[in-house]
């Protein structure tokens, strides 16, 4: 494989992984505070639709992203209202958000744009622009290894770099700030947090708000960078794959990043590997590679690749006992 191929593979991996990374970080924040989030898919879809529709109608990139963030946070707040304030079932609420968003985006898309659920294709001015293109061009004549890295790492749109930077940011938030410590405590032992006089509800709502923002960024990326517009059901299960990646990363931001890169790599390489015989295994069907992220997550959950320990109070609504 020559360096151009390696470079494009790295580039594809990063591009495919970006929405996964953002959603996995969102899930990480929510689940570390104790709230199961199965609504990632729905939040990504609805925020993508909001961004695509707003960009098409208003024509402004910042406003489109702002609207997407508002929608994302609203959905997370709804999740919080049902599950944190009223102790509803978190799994069911996540499914409800996903199912409703999947239907609503198509209904509104058809009604407002009459293109079978798609939003109009967006002009470049409203889309996320690539960064570091000058450096990419400059390094085109560089020696082999550097050229591969340059092709792979430079010239992506801003959201890719933002996603990568958010990983240490979220890690730092969780591990090195007081808010993060309390958030993690709310997910492990909410009674103790309550006894210390800190509001468990407020912490969980805070985590959900950040969750909404990150999902909105993922939705923005899909519509404003990766695809020309919003297409019905464009997330195609990526929300669940992000959840799987977060679990595979053992609820840690860095682990989630590595898992997302792995899953992204599998997705990017799937087409390339199709039909090509691997050593010892022979030709691997593309469906096996598509299923591999999910199989790996199941294997991890079964405890065969080390222990995956969920936050102790995950999924248990906290009720103050007077």
């Amino acid at each position: 494989m020559d360096d151009v191929a390696v470079g494009t593979l790295i580039a594809s991996t990063l591009r495919v992984s970006t929405p996964l990374i953002l959603c996995a970080l969102a899930a990480c924040l929510s689940e570390r505070s104790g709230v199961i989030d199965l609504g990632l898919e729905g939040k990504m879809l609805l925020t993508a639709f909001a961004a695509g529709a707003a960009a098409a109608v208003i024509g402004s990139l910042p406003l489109a992203m702002a609207l997407a963030v508002v929608v994302g946070v609203a959905l997370s707040m709804l999740h919080g209202y049902a599950c944190v304030s009223h102790r509803g079932d978190q799994v069911v609420m996540g499914m409800a958000i996903t199912m409703t968003a999947a239907g609503l985006t198509v209904v509104l898309g058809i009604a407002w744009f009459h293109q079978g659920g798609q939003t109009p294709a967006l002009p470049d001015a409203v889309r996320l622009a690539p960064w570091f293109t000058a450096s990419a061009d400059f390094l085109r004549d560089a020696p082999t290894g550097l050229r591969a890295l340059a092709t792979g790492l430079l010239g992506h749109n801003g959201m890719v770099y933002v996603a990568l930077l958010l990983v240490p940011a979220v890690w730092w938030l969780l591990a090195r700030t007081r808010f993060g410590l309390r958030l993690r405590a709310a997910g492990e032992n909410p009674a103790m947090v309550d006894a210390a006089g800190v509001s468990v509800q407020a912490l969980r709502y805070g985590a959900l708000a950040l969750n909404g923002v990150l999902c909105a960024l993922a939705g923005c990326y899909l519509v404003l960078a990766q695809n020309p517009s919003f297409i019905p059901h464009m997330t195609a299960g990526r929300g669940y794959m992000a959840l799987a990646a977060m679990i595979f990363g053992k609820w840690q931001p860095l682990g989630a990043l590595l898992a997302c890169l792995l899953f992204g790599f599998l997705d990017a390489a799937a087409i390339r590997l199709q039909g090509a015989p691997l050593p010892l295994i022979g030709a691997v069907p593309v469906q096996a590679i598509q299923a591999l992220p999910y199989v790996l997550t199941v294997v991890l959950l079964a405890g065969f690749i080390g222990r995956a320990r969920a936050p102790k109070a995950l999924g248990v609504p906290y009720a103050k006992t007077h």
């Binding site: 509104l108 058809i110 679990i247 069907p285």
Partner: protein
Amino acid sequence: MSSGHELPRWLDLGVLPLFNLALALLVCGIVVLVIGLDPGQVLSLLAKGAFGSRMGISYTLYYATTFVFTGLAVAVAFHGGLFNIGGEGQAMLGGIGTALVALALADHWPAWLVLPLMTLAAAAFGLAWAAVPAALQAWRGSHVVITTIMFNFIASALLSWLLINVLKEPGNMTVESRSFGPGAHVPAVHEVLGALGIEWPRSPLNLSVLLAAASAALVYLLVWRTRPGYMLRAVGFAPEAARYAGIGPRAQVMFSMMLSGAFAGLVGINEVAGVHGRLLLDYVVGAGFAGIAVSLIGRNHPVGIVLASLLFGALYQGGAELAFEIPGFSRDMVFTLQGLIVLFSGAMAQVAAPTLARAWFAIERRLAPRPAHG
């Protein structure tokens, strides 16, 4: 005075689901208004499409059949204390099982032999697909919700691989298997009625509807009238107390999930055998998730599930008719309503309960006769 904040049973089982359904319909009505349609017109056209003709009723019942199977699957697991979101994948495997038996036997063996075998295969494959997540939960503690979601995707990949690499007819462009032989033909209702001399329009409604009704009755008897069902409910309701009483939790987890998967697998009989007569990629499409909605609003009881399945069948059929009649309407409105029903009957099911209880006790106080003085 009022006995605390417990809702009377008839309010809890009868009024609360209807109240939650009304909320979901209200929000959906707002969406209908937002997209510029008239909710009253939409509702009346929907009812007409679903029940206004014999063809409409047949389609409604055909959709309801699938939903009864997936709804029962969710309910049975729920009574065991587990949330089975894997109905999609288990239904896919059920279809695969049906198809494999049909492709192997239906060319040479008669229907009375092949059809029961196909039914058993559908249930067995669905059962097996649910058994793996169940075993992982029981023995390794892996959360069954996550594993069943993963298994849905794995099932989809498996079905895709099977169709493209193994079962596809060479030279055929469409991704489907060859048609099943005559032994795999599930009699359609219009054929049966025609044989009895009753004229009935052609529709996909087939005898699986009887299988669905029988399954609902079976679930009722099994869960509420037998000892295994009692043990199942005990483990679902109070796992520690059940363990103290000697009921092994692992066995119950396996039992509830396998039974659940078996019912979900029966979707294969209705869709793959009853309607299409060959294996395709997209015969499940959302039936598993509709089953979750059906079970939630049916309060996990077979009677509620049958009623809710009829409701959803009517929504799907009415929605298809509406998509023809009204240019801006698409079936995704039905999926939105489905999601809203899961929202209000599932996640926010108990949000309305205290308000309803307070209203009920206020009414009760007003209606109660005044105590005699002196």
